[in-house]
Amino acid sequence: MPKRIALLGMPNTGKSTLFNRLTGAQARTGNWPGLTVELLAAKLPLGADLVELVDLPGIYDLHGMTEDEHVVRRFLERVSLDFLVVVLNAAQIDRQINLLLQAKALGIPMLAVLNMSDEAKRFGVTIDTARLSAALGFPVLEVSARRAEGLELLRQALTRGLQVENPVSLAELAQRLAPEEIVQEEADALLRMTVKSPRELSDGMSARLDRVLLHPLWGLPLFFLSLLLLFQFIFTVGAPLQDAVAYLLDRLRDAIVQPVAHVLPPFGEGLLIGGIYDGLATVASFLPIIALFFIVMSAVEDSGYLARAAFLVDGFMARIGLDGRGFVLHLFGMGCNVPAVMGTRVMRSPALRALTMLVLPFALCAARLQVFIFLIAALFAPVQAALVLFSLYVLSLLAAVLTAVVFKRRYHSVEPVILELPPYRLPQFGTMFKAAWGEISGFLQRATSFIVIGVVAIWLLTHLPWGVEPASPASFAGQLSAAVGFIFAPLGFDALLGVALLFGFIAKEIVLGGLAVLYSVPEEGLTEAVRLHMDWVQAYSFMLFTLLYTPCVSTLAAIQAEGKSWRLTMTSVLWSVGLAYAVSFAFYQTARALGF
């Protein structure tokens, strides 16, 4: 049984950066008995031993009432621990020392890490660590996780600390975790003794940036302008990369996969090449764009600008019954809706969570983005491309606002809204790429099986019954599209597009792979096929529908798991399908009536 160390700390202390620095890249999420959420854990070599290091969620208060604070308490009550590391933001020791004292009261062997010691110097805060350590009775170490400073000393201190047996049983711990009165005197006395800080604490650079970026008039326009620029950047850099990957995958198919598959009977060969390989290749060629998106997103998050975005929009969000956090989650939802829906756990009010969960599926996720990028590249001039994409982002926000306004009376809440505004920090390349890699592997794990099943199902529908002309009216797909065609005709879709949309419900990634199979063309021929089958009005109508119609199966599963209400889940499906149909119908009919 390896020894176990837990990392405890407030949000914005750089706890996760420290965790990554200590353990390298091989962290995994683990399930813990009695806990509904997954916590990150990794093996950490210490001296001759291999120790398990667990990263607990960031919390403000060991006796607090948020979901994360419950999680930490349940973890401490149920999982036996050998050592506790409390991470503090050194610049904010004036208030974070309270959590340290709460942790000390537990009696588990521990040490304190004063992280961001470089930032504390910038603020002019100096801490007498030797005196603090003597007063507290455990080691206090200055570390900068971002600059990898002080880590070796930390490892040595941990190795020494683990030699002492943890004397506290789980039952005793449960008792000590019971709510208590806040004791401020002890903290104040310690601070007076060990900490020197200037009277007016402000990091000049952040204050100057805030004067511009949080300006009452220009703040919001600047925010939307930077979003537009970021999308332009992703598009400009991503498109050539995407072409390169598609080219390589075609080469690979012609050189290796095709000859190998040729040993199969024609039906099997077709299924393997035309179904599985082409479908997967289409999806794979979008990985560069998704990676870029997450690199950019994590940079914005790291920089501290995301919390500022929440500040800027909170006044508006309050009016539609949501809050600034909902807006930030919406931005995360632009990667994938599933983690965003799970992120609503930071909200305590069930009504606010329900309303936020109804809104989040309208966030234009990476899966939909991939469909749009393809269609836009195929049917619009390069100068229009970024604008068309931007219009879809604007529409997704409008749909979210409309949803909130329609449902805010039913899901009404009065939850307090308090959010920290950390100082601006330069994003770090390591963190950015790690975040991108984590999201991509997560995306592949979640999506791959869905995509393969979906694409194979579509291939079978277009090639069965036995011996039919692929995707002809006689095939199952042809029959299905004839049956549903009348539904989609007023939206301007050809019947096969309707079938691709039906499958897109499983995962929106399938829409493109499905189109390639339905038009029975390989990846590089899809652009031509699409140009042949639709004009820009039809394409835009199709994109509107794809943008709005029903959350994918994974998102719905998350909504059901988090909200535990079939009524909420069904509302989400019916409302979004209805909205998608109405919007596509209105756009297509209006555009045609105007003569486009």
Binding site: L201, D210, P216, P416
Partner: protein
């Protein structure tokens, strides 16, 4: 007086924090408790939230939550 009476840029000393227990605990964890100086940095557009600074910590909260905080003017 209430914190929300302060103008942007003004500082005051906290005299009392009362209201929902959860709100009081959270504010305390952010450093808002009697005796501490609070600085109202700015207010967001559309009657939006207040941007506060307490020590080296900055955060925002809505006017309704800010009403839980009573301050004594003039102190720094």
């Amino acid at each position: 007086m209430k914190l929300s009476c302060l103008r942007c840029g003004e500082s005051a000393s906290v005299t009392c924090v009362e209201g929902d227990a959860c709100l009081v605990r959270r504010l305390h964890a952010l450093g808002v408790h009697p005796g501490r100086a609070v600085n109202v940095v700015r207010r967001a557009a559309f009657n939006g939230p207040l941007h506060l600074r307490v020590g080296s910590t900055e955060f925002f909260l809505r006017s309704r939550e800010a009403d839980a905080i009573s301050v004594q003017g003039g102190a720094a």
